[in-house]
Amino acid sequence: MGHYEAPIREPIIVGDKTYHDISVDVAAPIEGKANTYWKIAFTIALIAMLWGFGAIAYTIGTGIGVWGLNNKINWAWDITNFVWWIGIGHAGTLISAVLLLFRQKWRMGINRSAEAMTIFAVFQAGLFPMIHMGRIWNAFYTLPIPNQLGSLWPNFNSPLLWDVFAISTYLSVSLVFWWTGLLPDFAMIRDRATKPFQKKIYSLVSFGWSGRAKDWQRFEEVSLVLAGLATPLVLSVHTIVSYDFATSVVPGWHSTVYPPYFVAGAVFSGFAMVQTLLLIMRKVSNLEAYITRVHIENMNKVILVTGGIVTVAYMSEFFVGWYTGSSYEDFTYLSWGAATGPYWWAFWALITCNAIIPQLLWVKKIRTNYIWTFIIAIFINIGMWFERFDIIVINLSRGHLPSTWTQFSPTFVDIGIFVGTMGFFFVLFLLYARNFPVIAQAEVKSILKSSGDNFKRERDNPTDVPTPTTPMSKIDETTSAVDDIIEATDLSSDDNDEKTNSLLGSIGTFDKETQQPDDLKKVKGIGPVMEKTLNQIGIYSFDQVSKMTKKEYDLLDSITGSFPGRAERDDWAGQAEKLKS
């Protein structure tokens, strides 16, 4: 049945998982308690965020004069950070949309977190143009709505306004795409939840998802169409961001290569950030089985390609600047003048981090190594920040009039806001990691049979002894069990009465008057029929089940006659012990 996948493809779900294992693994970070590392990281992020909010409040209260801007360099860290964050966002959409169109199965292990990263990064990006307006309470002037100035409209010829539309469309569409994908996974958490508050929250956010065949059919088509829409959308967003520069007449900005070069750079930096986040997350949240070496290597390949495009763009800019022979081109951000001028360190930081270090990924040993990948990803994050810094500050630092030449130095407010957005970003991401299903588990389940290593192994080497843990039953095996259930048991014989009494004697009786019966179906292995049978015997509560030992299991088996050994295998007592609390 359509689960074939070429043996040459490496498995992307390792560790002999079953459908149920996937649910358990994805729900574990949500159902468990936060560990110390999480608490420390969250505290640091929260402090950074609050510092940033303080710096923003100071800026708004006093005016953007508190930044290090001057007459010549009138855009600096704020726009650098804006472009940096929005670029980081691009990887999420690329992974979830473009890779969906290309039917890349490995996207499923990472798309959820990459999309979360996108949304949180766009939040940070959006802050900068808003606070750069100075009078943030007038931000609604960017929207074409009637205001107290009469029918004065925004200027639709301006790339800055295109940006407003592009980014708000991007943010809202990404959010909807993300949330729609989350519905079945929230539903899984909801149906597993044992605490009433948890159940309430996940019922609310899962929008009552029930998983009907028709719902799934629509879900899949909607996902596909959203991917088709998001793909040109994500390209348009960074294209339009690049227009902010490319449509101006500043040397170094006025460049037709900007749109494709910005898009490639955005994907490059976004994948680096995905690597940074997921390499930590797979360890902390025990997701090594779903975010594997294959995922890391594939992302490194994308980094290599987009890094290559960026490098070629650097070279062509450098060459064209020199080839024009124009003296104004000798102080643009990619020129001999920049490489040897006062901003030589920024120039070389860009070249080293973006063009040279990523070339290490050509070596297979390095691009399949987690530590190396992490280090290189950090360098790329830094390098891509410098790219935007160079484009903005180096180009503005020298102009047509040498008497205006100047440099930029950030104030503590500039630094505070930047650090604050990082704090804000990690606050959101850490909260996400504890409360959201971080793997698109429904999608991962749908590829388990084609790409799970146990299934691949059995299919490719049918002579191997299959692992006994595989519980997916074959038809003929289950029929006999079904007979047992259906002809469920007559429990009234004298012999059984005696056994029942001895069973209840050791696990305790249940008083219907004073006690509330538990939903025994929550124990894996107990279905509605088995629950009824247990109730007939007089077992209603987790407390009773949790007291069962080998002796009681055997008694139970001899009373019901069905599923011999099943209760012991599934460890009902252990499960009930957990459910009790």
């Binding site: 639709f156 306004l161 295109w162 799934w216 079904v482």
Partner: protein
């Protein structure tokens, strides 16, 4: 027509798919199938008509494009023409190249959001709505087929479903 349904639970998607085909071949009516993930080929096996979500999206996209064209013309040409950087504002056609980004964004905005809203409305999913999957395990690793019971075929159905490999079979009142 009785008001009873049979719930047959499966623990494997391929077994379920085969079961759906068998039940349909026996001319029994499958009310609903609940699965934890999209089982490919299921809607075809159940005989569900293709979804028209993509078509609605296309129409919404056209609507967005028309809306953008209308308001850009109103704002930039009719209501308050401005000379900005020498870009011609005498007619929509002349000024249009500068509007392409916004027209594109509005097309995507309408196509995406209105389609998703349509999906939510049609599938009846929204905040505060109660889930209707009859067994909580159907979002985890089980697959549930709901078959309508006609006047006196309960036993026949039970034995049929048993043969298809169901791991649990229960008879319920229709909700």
């Amino acid at each position: 027509m009785s008001s009873k349904v049979i719930h047959a639970l499966y623990d494997d998607d391929d077994v379920l798919l085969k079961a759906v085909k068998d039940v349909r071949e026996a001319h029994q009516h499958i009310e609903e199938v609940y699965t934890p993930f999209p089982v490919h080929g299921l809607e075809k096996a159940m005989g569900i008509a293709p979804t028209r979500m993509a078509i609605t999206s296309f129409i919404y996209g056209l609507l967005g494009l028309a809306f953008a064209t209308w308001f850009l013309n109103l704002i930039m040409i009719q209501d308050w023409p401005q000379n900005i950087g020498g870009k011609p504002s005498f007619s929509f056609a002349e000024n249009m190249p500068a509007f392409i980004p916004i027209m594109f964004e509005m097309t995507v905005f309408f196509a995406a959001h209105l389609m998703v809203i349509t999906f939510y409305m049609r599938s009846k999913i929204w905040p505060f709505r109660k889930a209707e999957n009859p067994d909580p395990r159907t979002t985890d690793d089980k697959f549930l087929m709901e078959v309508a019971v006609a006047d006196d075929n309960e036993e026949f159905l039970t034995s049929l479903l048993k043969k298809t490999g169901a791991i649990e079979i229960t008879v319920n009142e229709k909700h």
